[in-house]
Amino acid sequence: MSFDWMRIPWSLVTLFIVFNYGLLLNALIAKIAARVGRRHGIPLWQNYVDLIKNYGQRTTISHGVHFYLGPVFRLTGGIGLLLFVPTLYGSAYFANLSFAGDLILALYFVFFGTLGMALGAGESGHPYAALGVSRGLSQVTAAELPFALAVFAVALQYQTLSVTEIVAAQQGGIHHWTLFTNPLAVAAAMLSFLGSMMRPPFDLVLAPQEIPIGPPTEYHSSYLALLQTNRAIFPIAKVVIYMNLFFGGATNWPVFFLKVFLITMVSVVVGVVSPRFRVEQSIRWFLIWAVPIGILAILWV
């Protein structure tokens, strides 16, 4: 198989664009949440400043190798997820490193960062971090189930495991989107999406008022900056998968930005006016509401 080496620099360009878009989007979300609270909100460039500051802190304390690897794994998860799915459909430059079975790899990468973080946070020895990890793993597992079911439904529907081909099957008008051809799968996946975005009502992993602030309690300075970088990339990467699988993908950057923004807004709108669930309540919620829909979606296909 011949490999086009030019895809590597182009995927780095993708990474760069997504990273900046992620930082701005996060600030925009914070601003929207602030406006709901009738505040002015943070400046749009605030995340850049925070990032520079955290990289510029002079001291760091390590709790061992795994503690260091935690954020690295998390970031790898985010970048890996982004690089192995096509960002823009039909573009030779921004298809990244997608290949025939990339859907399975993407499913793996969604979970990868969480596992790495669990490893690192557990090493930090802080009881709140341990609590956050146990909450996070149970919830992510529960939230992943409906998503996996929805992905299988989609894979069955289009008879392929390649994200590119799934997107290709959805071209040619809004009524070709999975959203309309398989609404059950999309419903299950969107419920799972709420759970995996770390926003209320499913933000019990961070939960500042209960276990401040969960896994990243001990992370500081450049470790925290790595996590922040990941927070800019990972949600977008996840949204890209959703966009490709269910919302017809994107063929150019403006459409990409718009779709990512709108999909993210789903979780923001729900989150801004919701308190948070307890961990067993949220797991029950996923098992009762999201998983049956996912199973129905598979049956429907």
Partner: protein, 213 residues
């Protein structure tokens, strides 16, 4: 000293007995060092600018001044506009607002939280009581001069200071940081013995290591 901090024999899950000395085993006892700024002036300036524009306050209301911190974060005053926000853990915070009088019991926790913050870090003393004792000049349980125990970058006076005063104080602090004059953490490390002696003079029951990393 609390029972859980004393030396004791512990039987592990595998049946092996071993001795645990929590103060030595659970904590790192290295002393702080003065951290030099970046080599390049322009890099340090950039970092100082970023530090000034991104002030993360530790969420620790030590005294009654904490009540005016909430209006500061809400629609009327909205300090988020200036890059000021709360962090719930000392590891990620870089500004410690001592909101009012400090009882000796709180001082111990404050020192511990302060030492867990990362260099560079700043301390702002709020209200007259951190400055000279204020209303509680004759109280047997509150300290009178904060700068004896922690390096203070800025005092905001009043009892209690209004949110406008707090905002003005934070803007003043930003100027200090940007000029590279807010080097409290290094000052603390340089005069460590002096600070520690002062702290131990007040806190008799010193059941923690000298420096809490």
């Amino acid at each position: 000293m609390k029972a859980e901090l004393e030396k004791r024999l512990v039987t592990g899950p595998d049946g092996v007995e071993f001795e645990v000395d929590p103060l030595r085993d659970y904590y790192c006892d290295a002393l702080p060092e003065v951290q030099r700024p970046a080599y390049l002036r322009i890099v340090e300036d950039l970092f100082n600018w970023a530090r000034a524009e991104s002030i993360w306050i530790l969420g620790f209301g030590t005294g009654c001044g904490a009540i005016e911190m909430r209006p500061l974060m809400t629609p009327r005053f909205d300090a988020y506009r200036y890059g000021i926000q709360w962090r719930p853990t000392p590891r990620q915070a870089n500004l410690f607002v001592i909101s009012g009088y400090l009882s000796v019991k709180t001082l111990k926790r404050v020192i511990r939280s302060y030492e867990q913050m990362q260099n560079p870090k700043y301390v702002v003393g709020l209200g007259s009581c951190t400055l000279n004792g204020g209303m509680y000049f004759d109280s047997y349980n509150t300290i009178k001069r904060l700068d004896q125990y922690l390096p203070v970058d800025l005092y905001i006076t009043g009892c209690m200071p209004r949110p406008e005063a707090l905002l003005a104080g934070f803007l003043e602090l930003k100027k200090l940081i940007r000029a590279g004059k807010a080097e409290g953490a290094n000052q603390y490390a340089a005069n460590f013995a002096w600070y520690k002696a002062n702290q131990k003079q007040v806190i008799h029951d010193w059941d923690m290591p000298d420096y809490n990393w």
